[in-house]
Amino acid sequence: MVEKQLIKPLADKEAHQSRFSRAYIPPQDRRVRVLESERSTDGRGAEFVTFAVDERSGGVGRRAAGDWRKDEIVGCVYPARDEVFVKRGGKYFAATLLLGKRTAAADDAVCRPARVAAADAHR
């Protein structure tokens, strides 16, 4: 789901991105890692899975196979609802943000296990 909703469209978009910019230079490769083997449940009772995306860059002096920059994108997926969220500055946004669509931050329950969210609420 992350590949389909985020990685592939992001790569397609970046193919047209100017390299002559102060914005990040698109990586050559991305890989998705699922961070937990079991699904978590958020404060609203919805199940989600956390993921991280690693990136690798370099053309002429392409890096060794193991030299990935880890956790360049982190987020979570709600398989039942077909939704992908990414973390930016401590908040979660719909993954379409990275594709250039303006979107508001998701509510605080999103991508946070219920027990963690409850502990945060009591602080």
């Binding site: 002559f20 910019s21 230079i25 500055g89 946004f93 943000l97 931050a105």
Partner: protein, 239 residues
């Protein structure tokens, strides 16, 4: 032979800066498209005052799109044949740089990728531009064209960082250098090299006399406090 090679190198350099400035200006259209966020904007989000930051970015790109090509034009030897055009274009460029480019750039530097070292790097470059611009205008007003040229070369050198740092970023990425380290190097190296190039090479070259230069020795420094009667009046003598 060396002189000819230097001249060729200079022409290629100026052409490269001109093309680079046009490419940056053309690519900056994306910041004015209302339906889609640009990658440079996306990677900054979320921002504490997004509207203010976006406004600063738009002011900065518009001001820079004018300032760098204008500075390149003003630095052309041929332009010195048209002193009035040089003066008016210089005034407009100076005003835009001091009123729009530098203030917006200083604000944007607070949110620069790369943290404090990047913020300091961008701010230093901006302050060099502002100080050199004010200094250069004052030198022109007292008809010290050697000092004026030296100051304006500093302005041009720092404005050209926009092109040279982007070129370095692309090269360092192709070489597989870590993006964070590459970003800082690609910022600081052109900023410092610009200062060094102007102070230790360009200003020591034999001076080219301008067509509107007074008939006095080119190396004569202008008096710090010219007598009132000698002082040029109004903005008519500003660069």
């Amino acid at each position: 032979m060396t002189r000819r090679f230097g001249k060729l190198l200079g022409s290629v350099w100026m052409l490269g800066l001109g093309v680079g400035a046009l490419v940056i200006a053309w690519a900056s259209r994306v910041y004015f498209a209302s339906d889609e966020l640009a990658p440079f904007v996306i990677e900054k989000l979320p921002l504490p005052h997004e509207d203010l930051w976006m406004a600063a970015l738009k002011v900065h790109v518009v001001a820079a799109s004018f300032a760098l090509p204008a500075c390149l034009l003003l630095s052309l030897k041929r332009m010195l044949r048209f002193p009035r055009t040089h003066r008016w274009l210089g005034r407009a460029t100076g005003a835009i740089i001091l009123a729009a480019l530098v203030p917006s750039g200083l604000y944007l530097s607070l949110f620069a990728k790369g943290g404090l070292p990047a913020t300091v790097g961008f701010a230093l470059s901006g302050l060099i531009v502002a100080v050199a611009m004010v200094w250069g205008v004052r030198r022109a007003r007292v008809k010290d064209y050697v000092g004026h040229r030296r100051a304006m070369l500093h302005v041009l050198a720092q404005l050209s960082v926009a092109v040279t740092s982007r070129t370095l970023l692309a090269l360092l990425d192709a070489a597989g250098i870590d993006p964070d380290a590459a970003y800082l190097f690609a910022l600081w190296a052109p900023v410092l090299a610009g200062v060094g190039l102007v102070e230790f090479w360009l200003v020591r070259r034999p001076h080219r006399r301008s067509s509107h230069e007074p008939n006095t020795p080119a190396t004569r420094p202008a008096p710090l406090h010219p007598a009132l009667g000698e002082r040029p009046h109004g903005v008519g003598n500003a660069a």
